[in-house]
């Protein structure tokens, strides 16, 4: 029995900021102090506050330490673990009221955590994902037990339908309906698939669930196998997620040892097994038919629907495919009931949603909020606002398939239908925040560049259409666009949406359409005034020297990589040396001169 547990995040974020070294040092220090039998070190999944990693939490007090380095460990061991005095300088307490100095701050009182509601992430940062017993201790596999011993497949479908759960991968299709269709088709073999091919730039919700709570996916997939009548499941996971892959392999092995996967699950005679398939990093493989084609061993290309996978999916057999976060909700819904789940969220979007916060936001990281939470709350309160006192301009949801939400919709409650109504989409949960320094034309260009690279090339509208769109955007950012181009772009967008074969192409124009809708004035500034208001598009920038301010020190001249700066004949009143000037023909617009000038004599226009 341990008197204290020290939980250290072992997710990808904290691992890259050095949590493994912290963990090793802690083990050494505990041993040196003879505490190794009193204090347990637990490696967990993501706590969510990735920007402040490596993070650590000490129980039973529940003290949350952020930005812990190896060198902080001796102090934490000596002061906190040995003597019980909290190391306040490392404690994270933003937003929490400090009632008495030195007293522990509860994590749930901090701004970052107090508005969160953790369902899909309930075990992330709480259990050791490599230990099946800890998952079981938190009611793990109890939902499977309940389904196999007390429920008929129809009952499971009814519970899911009543709960209102919709797919968390982006499109928001009701999960219960999907399962109902797959169950209705008779076949000797059916398949259950998990979509863990998370490819949106800036999204890492699924990775965190797999790293922090892999068993929940296995349990939910087994429940699905029983419900639709399948005996085999596949998890299609990106090879770029090595920690997630490793933990899934461990979890599958443990589940097989416990008889929770295999021939006679929990002694009920039900048979189900799960295997991993690693994706090679093609974005299109997140599309359901392309994913299944890839599992079959073919090149990952989509095919027309219908027939839908529920009828002819993997290996032409009835199949279901759900996203990682969708799976993570299911065991809880079975155990706590449809009413519990339906009590959270809005009328048509039930439950919670996990978002990966990124871009211009203080707390880059992972949050789970009830559906219907206003965007303002997510960004200003939970996310800690926009750094450096900058102004919010827009937030991009749904990655390259979604659109931007401008400041005028800052108070919109986030759910599937509201986001569609304002021209964006829920997507898988990436939320990229942009401030006044971001150029919206450049953002649209960035996402189009991504879809052009990732288009599989099977259908013409996507292969050629997105390329033409990108060319027009490039023309505009170079100051060569015309007003006619804007209309042509819009027309092409609608054409691609209507004619592309799969979701990738059908949604690819969304970033262009939504930036055109809300930030047309920025496009016009690029086209008519040949000016980039945010100062991002290099071709439209000009660096100029204010000759009255320039003292002629020559620092910029020495640092210019293009030798574009030369001395003039003009000496400003009060200065001893002649000022400099920039040759716009030679200038590569790197901005080094402006960053180096101590006299603020250089500006961009």
């Amino acid at each position: 029995m341990y008197r204290s547990h020290v939980l250290i995040c072992g997710g990808t974020g904290c691992t890259s900021s050095g949590s493994q070294k912290v963990r090793e040092r802690l083990a050494e220090e505990l041993k040196a102090k003879g505490l190794e039998n009193e204090i347990k070190i637990v490696q967990t999944g993501c706590f969510g506050l990735c920007a402040l990693g490596p993070v650590m939490i000490v129980y039973p007090e529940g003290t949350f330490y952020s930005r812990v380095t190896e060198n902080d460990i001796p102090e934490i061991v000596e002061e906190h673990l040995l003597k019980g005095r909290i190391v306040t300088r490392l404690e994270y307490k933003e937003g929490a009221e400090i009632t008495e100095p030195g007293k522990n701050v509860s994590l749930n009182d901090t701004n970052f955590y107090k508005s969160q509601l953790r369902v899909a992430l309930r075990n992330c940062g709480v259990i050791n994902p490599e230990n099946i017993d800890e998952y079981i201790a938190r009611d793990g596999y109890m939902a499977l037990g309940k389904v196999l011993t007390e429920m008929k497949p129809e009952d499971v479908i009814q519970v899911l339908l009543d709960s209102g759960l919709r797919g968390r991968g982006g499109a928001g299709f009701p999960t219960g309906m999907k399962w109902k269709f797959a169950r209705a088709y008779d076949n000797d073999q059916k398949y259950v698939c998990c979509n863990a091919d998370e490819g949106d730039p800036g999204a890492f919700m699924d990775r965190s669930v797999l790293e922090g709570d892999p068993h929940v996916v296995l349990e939910a997939m087994t429940i699905a196998g029983y419900t639709i009548g399948a005996s085999q499941g596949y998890i299609y996971v990106r090879a770029e997620y090595p920690i997630a892959v490793k933990r899934l392999q461990i979890a599958i092995k443990q589940a097989r040892e416990y008889g929770l996967l295999g021939d006679n699950i929990l002694g009920t005679g039900f048979k189900f097994d799960i295997d991993l398939r690693l994706g090679a990093g093609a974005f299109v493989c997140g599309e359901e038919t392309a994913l299944m084609t890839s599992i079959e061993g073919n090149r990952g290309e989509p095919r027309p629907r219908p027939p839908f996978p529920a009828e002819k999916g993997l290996f032409q057999k009835p199949s279901i495919l759900n996203n990682v976060e969708t799976w993570a909700n299911i065991p809880q819904i079975i155990l706590k009931g449809a009413d519990w789940f339906a009590s959270m969220g809005t009328e048509k979007s039930k439950g919670t949603k996990v978002f990966a916060l990124g871009g211009k936001i203080t707390h880059t990281g992972l949050v789970e909020i009830p559906m219907g939470t206003p965007l303002r709350k997510v960004i200003e309160e939970i996310g800690g606002g926009i750094p450096n006192g900058k102004k919010f301009k827009a937030a991009q949801t749904g990655g390259p398939s979604g659109g931007c939400i401008p400041a005028e919709h800052f108070d919109v409650p986030i759910d599937y239908d509201n986001l569609i109504a304002i021209g964006s989409m829920m997507g898988s949960g990436g939320l990229i925040v942009m401030d006044e320094d971001n150029c919206m034309v450049d953002i649209a260009k960035f996402f189009l560049q991504f879809t052009v690279d990732e288009s599989c090339g099977k259908c013409t509208p996507c292969r050629i259409g997105t390329k033409r769109l990108l060319e027009m955007l490039e023309k505009i950012t170079k100051g060569q666009g015309t007003l006619e181009d804007l209309d042509k772009m819009e027309e092409l967008c609608y054409y691609i949406k209507a004619n592309a074969l799969c979701g990738l192409g059908q949604t690819a124009p969304n970033p262009v359409l939504s930036t055109l809708r809300y930030f047309r004035d920025e496009y016009i500034a690029h086209v008519v005034d040949k000016r980039c208001p945010a100062g991002v598009c290099k071709h439209l920038l000009k660096f100029v020297v204010n000759k009255e301010k320039c003292i002629g020190c020559g620092l910029c001249m020495r640092n210019c990589p293009a030798n574009a700066i030369t001395r003039t004949d003009y000496i400003a009143p009060g200065h001893k040396l002649a000022s400099v000037e920039i040759d716009p023909e030679k200038c590569v617009k790197c901005g080094v001169c402006m960053g180096n000038c101590k006299f603020k004599a250089i500006s961009k226009q």
Binding site: P60, G84, I136, L266
Partner: protein
Amino acid sequence: MKTLAELQAIRDRMKDNVTMRSGSGSIRAVVGMATCGIAAGARPVLSALVEEVSKLDLGEKVSVTQTGCIGLCRYEPIVEVYEADKEKVTYVKMTAEKARRVAEEHLKNGRIVTEYTIGAEEK
């Protein structure tokens, strides 16, 4: 292969292990673990309390933590028991044996072991 009953047994056995991580219980037993406390033998007291709380299945109700110097070094090892809306109880000159009795009588059954308290010691 495990049956559902075996699975439930694992859950019950492991539950104490993770309940600690859901935050503090309603009763806090705090052991003074500054230099004076450790020198006077606070470590076995702490271990005994932790073991006993687990054995008596009080994990959800009681959390055992440490603190620094309370300022009454001559009375160490000291254990203070905090419970919401009740007056703090201070046990002094504790041993592992006394700690086990406190766990059984006070933490479990709610009867203060008066003879170990600071009030009894000062008489």
